[in-house]
């Protein structure tokens, strides 16, 4: 360990740092709430006011951004996990390189799910007039929440799916390098993995389809 010792003071220091950050943030919020409560202004610490004041456009657009960015993150993460194994195992068994591109394509499909949902969600947003907001206040607020969570769940499900497919693809490449018949059977596991991203797409369409924030 000598030369490679980081000298930061032990293996747990990063974990302790993260834990301390969470605890301090939580304590700050609790302290702010207590300050409000003990000065008789408890009703002003209003979570519901925050939820309603954040514009529906903010909710919708951040949802769309999370949908595409986290899906692509999952796809990329899976691709580098499986790609490193394909290239590494291919040193001694170059025959695997073409067949194992299928694993990379499964990861690409995860990114495609993200872009499909992002495009579906974007169609819902358009200009509104102030009179329209008065008439349809409840509907627009509701639609904003739906678009946010549709995007969020797509991004997170595809992140999990992409990493899963990447890990299984890596195992498939290494097994394929040993014995060429194994790849197709381990591909079955990758199909189960990519079904996870598909479930996310299904719920995102259920939640986010036709939730319009527009006057036209």
């Amino acid at each position: 360990m000598g030369v490679y010792d980081s000298g930061r003071g032990g293996k747990g220091s990063y974990a302790i740092g993260c834990y301390a950050a969470y605890v301090i943030t939580l304590l700050v919020f609790i302290a702010i709430g207590l300050f409000y409560m003990f000065s008789g202004r408890g009703s002003e610490f209003d979570v519901g006011w925050v939820l309603e004041s954040i514009s529906s456009y903010t909710w919708a657009c951040i949802g769309i951004a999370i949908a595409i960015s986290f899906s692509v993150l999952g796809a990329a993460w899976g691709m580098f996990i499986t790609g490193a194994s394909i290239v590494g195992a291919g040193v001694k068994a170059p025959r695997i390189k073409t067949k194992n591109l299928v694993s990379v394509i499964f990861c690409e499909a995860v990114a495609i799910y993200g872009i499909i949902i992002a495009i579906i969600l974007v169609q819902n947003i358009d200009d509104t007039t102030p009179e329209d907001w008065l008439d349809n206040y409840n509907t627009y607020i509701f639609n904003g929440y739906c678009l946010f969570f549709a995007g969020l769940l797509t991004g997170m499900c595809n992140l999990a799916c992409g990493i899963c497919v990447g890990i299984v693809g890596s195992g498939a490449a290494l097994a394929d390098a040993q014995n060429g018949e194994l790849f197709v059977r381990i591909l079955v596991i990758e199909i189960f993995g990519s079904a996870i991203g598909l479930f996310g797409v299904i719920i995102a369409v259920l939640l986010g389809n036709n939730r319009k924030i527009s006057s036209s």
Partner: protein, 160 residues
């Protein structure tokens, strides 16, 4: 004019219902992904020595996929029941939020259990075939944890 909002049915009530639907599918997908990936690594490792056992060893992967289906069912039920503010009040919102969290976190837990047991189980079964039945029994107990979450989620979702 928009329908009248009350203190028990404020405009942000659907936020919690939507969060429930999202939590249901997100967390159960996390559990299913972990179970699939961890078991998949074990299967890839043991397939080199015992290729004929691969199809029997898909069982942990299938059981992890079922967890994602539990989350899908609850998320679909919640999403179908969502509506805008006074029709969908805070009671509905929080019931659906709790339903989503219960199936979601139970799915994560069950997915972790199925993944670790599946990985160790398929590697052990390759070396000692009599272990197969034991592995399946342990996997079933892990799967049932996700089922408990689904039961509570359905009770909560149908409570309003």
């Amino acid at each position: 004019m928009a329908a009248a909002l009350t203190a028990l049915a404020p405009a942000y009530s659907p936020f919690f219902g939507c969060m429930g639907a999202a939590s249901a599918i997100i967390f159960s997908s996390l559990g299913a992904a972990y179970g699939t990936a961890k078991s998949g690594v074990g299967i890839s490792a043991m397939a080199i020595m015992k290729p004929d056992l691969i199809m029997k060893s898909i069982i942990p992967v299938v059981m992890a996929g079922i967890l994602a289906i539990y989350g899908l069912v609850v998320a679909a039920l919640i999403a179908q029941g969502l509506d805008e503010a006074p029709t969908y009040d805070l009671y509905d919102g929080f019931c659906d939020f709790a339903a989503g969290l219960s199936v979601g976190f139970c799915g994560v837990a069950a997915g972790f259990a199925i993944g670790v047991v599946g990985d160790a189980g398929v590697r052990g079964t390759a070396q000692q075939p009599k272990l197969f039945v034991g592995m399946v029994l342990i996997l079933i107990f892990g799967e049932v944890l996700g089922l408990y979450g689904l039961i509570i989620a359905l009770i909560l979702n149908t409570a309003h």
